[in-house]
């Protein structure tokens, strides 16, 4: 489906390796690592809220040098393999790159993007615990939620002119952003996110989940279902939309495993107040709620 040239794909790969991370995590990592006794779990807690840092760590741990028997899909698992000191120093090297500006030249708001990614991640994890615990690890769903829209930050950073047109077109013609991206960029964020994840040898299930998260005609998977449902819940409740506003007809896209009673699913997930509060605090959105 992609019209990206191999040359452009290569350039994007290289550019993403030098991509800055989010302000709150950079600031927290710099502060925490000044204390030699900082708690490993606190470091992990920060890194796993930052899609850029998480992407970079998974890229490193899944690289061929470690020849690991299975793919590593979480920051916690990376700590078990690499040790907390290596993770700390990696995080510091990511922090040294700098921070993402709140608004890229496209006007894409990365803080709202982060709010969306964090809430979708947390809700996807809960959905997995409640509906698909026997099929996969809820942490895998968290990572899928955190990284599913990563392609958008890549566009905002490195293909800003085309992405700006796509954002404007999606807003003007009230169409899904991914369709506008296909039109103006030649590939959508799901394709580019999956491309990076595949090149960096992430688990196939994660690559496919990112790639297919807007496709209607794919074979349902537990991870895909949880991600899709979490996305619907978060956007319906307006917890950040990452540039893709909620449309009522999306309720028809609820995956079969959850039944068709939206309110019952939301009730089973439970209160989202704490999730949203934590995400807002990390995304530095304060009490403002993305519309």
């Amino acid at each position: 489906m992609s019209q990206l040239t191999p040359e452009l794909e290569r350039k994007l790969m290289t550019a993403v390796e030098r991509m800055p991370a989010f302000p709150k995590s950079v600031q927290s990592i710099l502060e925490m690592t000044r204390n030699i006794n900082c708690l490993p779990k606190d470091l992990v807690g920060v890194i796993e809220k930052d899609p850029v840092m998480t992407m970079k760590i998974l890229r490193v741990i899944n690289s061929a040098y470690y020849g690991l028997p299975s793919k590593i899909a979480s920051v916690g698992q990376s700590v078990v393999y690499l040790g907390i000191n290596t993770i700390k120093n990696l995080a510091l090297s990511f922090a040294a790159v700098g921070i993402l500006p709140r608004f890229s030249t496209t006007g894409f708001d990365i803080q709202r993007y982060l709010l969306h990614s964090l809430t979708v991640a947390a809700v996807a994890r809960i959905l997995c615990e409640k509906y698909a615990r026997a099929e996969l690890d809820p942490t895998d769903c968290y990572i899928a939620g955190l990284l599913h829209d990563f392609g958008k930050v890549v566009f905002a950073q490195f293909m800003s002119v085309e992405f700006m047109k796509a954002l404007a077109s999606a807003a003007d013609f009230e169409k899904p952003l991914y369709l506008a991206e296909q039109e103006h960029i030649g590939a959508d964020h799901a394709y580019v996110g999956a491309l990076l994840a595949k090149r960096w040898q992430f688990a196939d299930s994660l690559v496919e989940c990112i790639r297919d998260h807007h496709k209607e005609d794919v074979e349902p998977t537990a991870m895909g279902d949880c991600l899709r449902m979490a996305d619907i819940i978060c956007r319906k409740h307006a917890f950040g939309d990452a540039g893709n506003p909620w449309r009522e007809e999306e309720l028809t896209r609820i995956p079969a495993r959850f039944g068709d009673d939206f309110e019952a699913i939301v009730a089973k997930v439970g209160s989202l107040e704490k999730i949203v509060e934590d995400a807002q605090s990390f995304a530095q959105i304060g009490t403002e709620r993305a519309a």
């Binding site: 779990k41 028997p69 040790g83 290596t86």
Partner: protein
């Protein structure tokens, strides 16, 4: 296969009257396979006296395997005299450093900078090659194979399994058993524990059955708590690992630099007294110790 210890001290070389019996040099182990291929595990200061013995029979072909790049495991490398003699071949193997994003060649680059060492790497006369290893991928050296295994230390640390004609030894490099970074009351505790248990099982499978295990045993149980996370184990940890992998013989190494010979024997005896009837032979590493497998 023959194994000889040339450096058994951790952290910093510790010469002096109190360390004469066990030795003050930092980590270096010479392994000779049945066809006399030379494999050197780590290049701490112990590699310097080893180098002197090699000069009698030139040219030297040496394969050096670096467990990790902390100073006590590499500092003897610029003093490995065969590097300066034309006709010798030295191949240096080690891990990829993911933080600096460099292969093992940086082990020389970093040490042989103008301000820190008078000779540049380009001035070394031996044929030198570097091989950045992939975890789990065996390397053939004569009639031996060396397999790198990922351990747990504050920098990427490879343990090495050396096998030759049905005999095998494993050196951990520096290693601390995994610790749960969460508290039992944290929601993440059980998941993390599961991942650690899996990792421990993978490690045991990768080490496999060995005739000899040389294991980091830096601390006593009493010393350990404030040093948790420093990347070293205790005598008790080493006993447990030897038992888990069914080792026939265990050599405890990486002695604390402040520990005198008398103290070393005392703490070792104390640890042994708490583990009567260990199903393997166990001893302290000391410079000059030779073991034939």
């Amino acid at each position: 296969m023959k194994v000889k210890m040339w450096g058994v001290r951790g952290s910093i070389a510790s010469p002096g009257p109190k360390t004469v019996r066990y030795g003050g040099n930092t980590t270096c182990i010479e392994v000779r396979s049945d066809d006399d291929s030379l494999i050197i595990l780590d290049a701490g200061t112990g590699i310097f006296p080893l180098a002197q013995t090699l000069l009698a029979r030139l040219p030297v072909t040496a394969n050096i395997f670096i467990t990790h790049t902390h100073w006590d495991h590499i500092q003897g490398l610029p003093f490995f005299v065969p590097l300066y003699i034309p006709g010798n071949k030295v191949r240096i193997h080690g891990a990829y450093d993911i933080v600096s994003m460099q292969g093992i060649q940086q082990v020389m680059d970093v040490q042989m900078q103008y301000s820190y060492f008078p000779i540049r790497e380009a001035e070394l006369k031996a044929g030198i090659e570097y091989e950045t290893l992939t975890v789990g991928q065996p390397v053939s050296i004569g009639d031996a194979t060396v397999t790198p295994v990922l351990m747990n230390h504050p920098v990427t640390d490879l343990g090495y399994r050396v096998e030759s004609n049905g005999k095998a030894m494993f050196f951990t490099g520096d290693h601390e058993p995994w610790l749960n970074i969460y508290k039992p009351e944290d929601s993440e505790y059980a998941d993390y524990q599961g991942m650690m248990d899996l990792r421990q099982a993978e490690l045991q499978a990768a080490i496999g059955k060995v005739d000899l295990l040389v294991c980091d045993s830096a601390y006593t149980m009493a010393e350990y708590p404030p040093k948790i996370g420093w990347g070293h184990g205790t005598f008790d940890h080493a006993f447990a690992m030897a038992q888990q992998v069914g080792a026939k013989r265990l050599v405890c190494t990486h002695h604390e630099p402040t520990r005198s010979d008398d103290d070393l024997e005392k703490v070792f005896a104390e640890a042994l007294s708490r583990h009567p009837g260990l199903p393997f032979e166990v001893m302290l590493a000391r410079e000059g110790l030779e073991i034939e497998l």
